[in-house]
Each structure stands twice: as structure tokens, then as C-alpha cells.
Subunit: 194 residues, 2 copies
């Protein structure tokens, strides 16, 4: 039932926004009572916090499995982009609620979520930095700005990409990866300090 409440809420928050969705709306949408809601969640805000936390913790777990495997940094970057884009089919609504509704959390919860979000971004930055150190990527990159660029591209696709449309998720991931790699991979024979 808890899972059912959460899924129904994600769908309502995505359509109507967190602020305008009432606990009554959530209960109605699954044919339950407000009492059932309060049995599982203290408040709408606590539910929103759990949605945010579960989402980012799950992403982090999968991302860190990628970071810690033994492939090249190019492949890691590809795998991270592919994970984010392939996720849209199953996790699109949750992702959109995550991106849009964070400011409706209480200050202390925003801090908790932002810490995990930063960790997620810094993991991408560290792939870029490792790639520079390993000579895979150009030496003079700003790894922090490249990480933001990767996240921007991938996250923005949650707003427009139709996973059941003409382009497959893995194809979009390949296009985006080759775009980024084209901008950062060191050409053979490029002098180190150039």
C-alpha cells in the first residue's frame, strides 16, 4: 500500500504540482481514505522527502557501481549517460518530480537531498578528472563545468524525450556520449600542454 500511495502521488505531483495536490486527491486516486495515507506518512512533505531520497539513493547506488568498475573513463561516462536516459521510460515521472519540486521540501530536507545530489554530480566530475589524469581526456578541461554540461543534457531529456518514439534511449545515449566525448577526448598526437 505504501508503494501504491507513493506511485499515485508521483503521478499527481507530476501533473498538478506538489502544492496543488491534496492528501484527499492522493487518497481518492487509489480509492483509499486520508487515514490510510496518515498510517504510512506523517505529512505530504514527508512523502515528498521520501520520493526525493529514494530516487537519488537509487541513482547513486547504480552510478557508483559504474564508477567503481574497471572500464575506461570514456566507457564510464557512456554508462552514466545511458543510465540516466534509459531511466526515463520507468522513472520519468519520478525524475521530473525530483527536478521540479525540491523547493517544496523543508530547509533541512533540502540540505539532505542536495548533499546526495552534489555527490552524484561530483562522481561525474571525478570520471572527467580521472580521464584527464589517465590521458584519455584533454588536459585543460574544467571538469566541474563539463560535469554540469553532462547533467544538463541528460536531465533536460526528461522534459522532451519520448522513450517510445523514433529514437531509442540507447541511441540518444550514444549520440550524447559521442557529442561529449568529441569535445573532451584527447586526439592522438595532441601535445600535452596545448
Amino acid at each position: 500500500m505504501k508503494e501504491k500511495i507513493t506511485e499515485a502521488s508521483i503521478s499527481l505531483f507530476e501533473q498538478k504540482g506538489f502544492s496543488t495536490t491534496t492528501i484527499q486527491d492522493i487518497a481518492d486516486s487509489i480509492g483509499a481514505t486520508k487515514g490510510t495515507f496518515y498510517y504510512y506518512f506523517k505529512s505530504k512533505e514527508q512523502l515528498l522527502k521520501e520520493i526525493h531520497l529514494e530516487y537519488i539513493i537509487d541513482l547513486l547506488k547504480r552510478q557508483e557501481a559504474i564508477v567503481n568498475d574497471s572500464t575506461s573513463n570514456k566507457e564510464k561516462l557512456h554508462a552514466v549517460i545511458e543510465m540516466l536516459i534509459s531511466d526515463i521510460r520507468k522513472n520519468g515521472p519520478r525524475g521530473r518530480v525530483f527536478f521540479r519540486e525540491i523547493r517544496h521540501l523543508a530547509e533541512e530536507n533540502i540540505r539532505i537531498i542536495k548533499k546526495e545530489r552534489d555527490r552524484y554530480r561530483l562522481n561525474i566530475e571525478s570520471i572527467i578528472r580521472s580521464g584527464i589524469a589517465a590521458g584519455e581526456f584533454k588536459p585543460n578541461l574544467r571538469s566541474d563545468m563539463v560535469a554540469f554540461a553532462v547533467l544538463g543534457m541528460a536531465n533536460y531529456s526528461y522534459n522532451w524525450f519520448q522513450p517510445d518514439g523514433e529514437v531509442e534511449p540507447s541511441e540518444l545515449a550514444a549520440i550524447y556520449t559521442s557529442l561529449v566525448l568529441g569535445g573532451i577526448v584527447k586526439e592522438n598526437g595532441t601535445p600535452e600542454n596545448h
Copy 2:
């Protein structure tokens, strides 16, 4: 006064969200009455529509000036990215309201805004296509996906970029432009059909 109401509303919508901001909040924030608000706007929704429309029309006007000038497609792409990022200092709050609150418009207004938004995106796509046709960019690019990537990177910077921080807007624009161009520019000597 109309401008003052609009600016105050943008600031409130950005902080609290459109749904939770009342007309009373808007009036209070500028020491006016609700009557003053209704003298200029039929409803909160009409105000939101005007904010959206003014924002995108202004962007389009400046973007199309760039598209129609006589520089190379590389330079056009740079100018479009630079415009979006330099705008954050002055237009950051308006941009964030634009990205986040569109779903609170009425269906017919969403259609009107989306049409202009699409035009904005298609202009970027057409720079990519022209660059391919002119032999500036690689021949086998998906110009539609590249346009989404450019918009994703640039728009996402509205969420994190501090224009008064360590990195200047023009520097971020240069980094992002060289990242994209690195991924799409045709190397000298690359065969046409490869």
C-alpha cells in the same frame, strides 16, 4: 506599475511557486491593493501567460538577429549559447519561472508558448543543419538531438550557475561552446561520408 507587479510576481513565483503565491501576496509585496493588481491583469494566470510570452518573444527576437547575421554557424552557435548564459544575471528568475511553471497555464496558453519555444529550438537546429550543409560540421549529425543537447546544457545552467561567482558568464559560454563544437566540428581532412 504593471512592470512593478510583474517583477514582484516573478520573484514570488520563483521562491514560493506559482500555485502557492496569492494575488494578496503579490499586492502586499509592493504595498499595493488587490484592486491595483486587477486593474492590470485579469487573473494570476493571465499574468503568468504574459511573463512567459514576453520572455520567449524577447529571446526569439535576439536569437533571430543572431541567426540572420552573416557570421559562420560556429559563431552563431557560440552567440546563442552566450546569450542564454549571459542572460542569467538579469533574467535568471524569469527564466526559472518560465521553465518550471508552464504547466500552470491553461491548455490554450501552453499551446501558444510551446509554439514559440519550438521555434526557438528549431532555430538552433537550423544553425546545426546549415553548418552541416556548409561543411563546417560533421555530416552525420542528428541536428535535432544536438539542438536539445545545447538547450539542455544552457538551460540547466539557470539552476546552478552563479554569474557573480568564480567563473564569468562569457567564460562558461566559451567552455560550453568549445565542448559542443569539439563534438560536432568537422576535422580538416575528414572524409565527407564517414
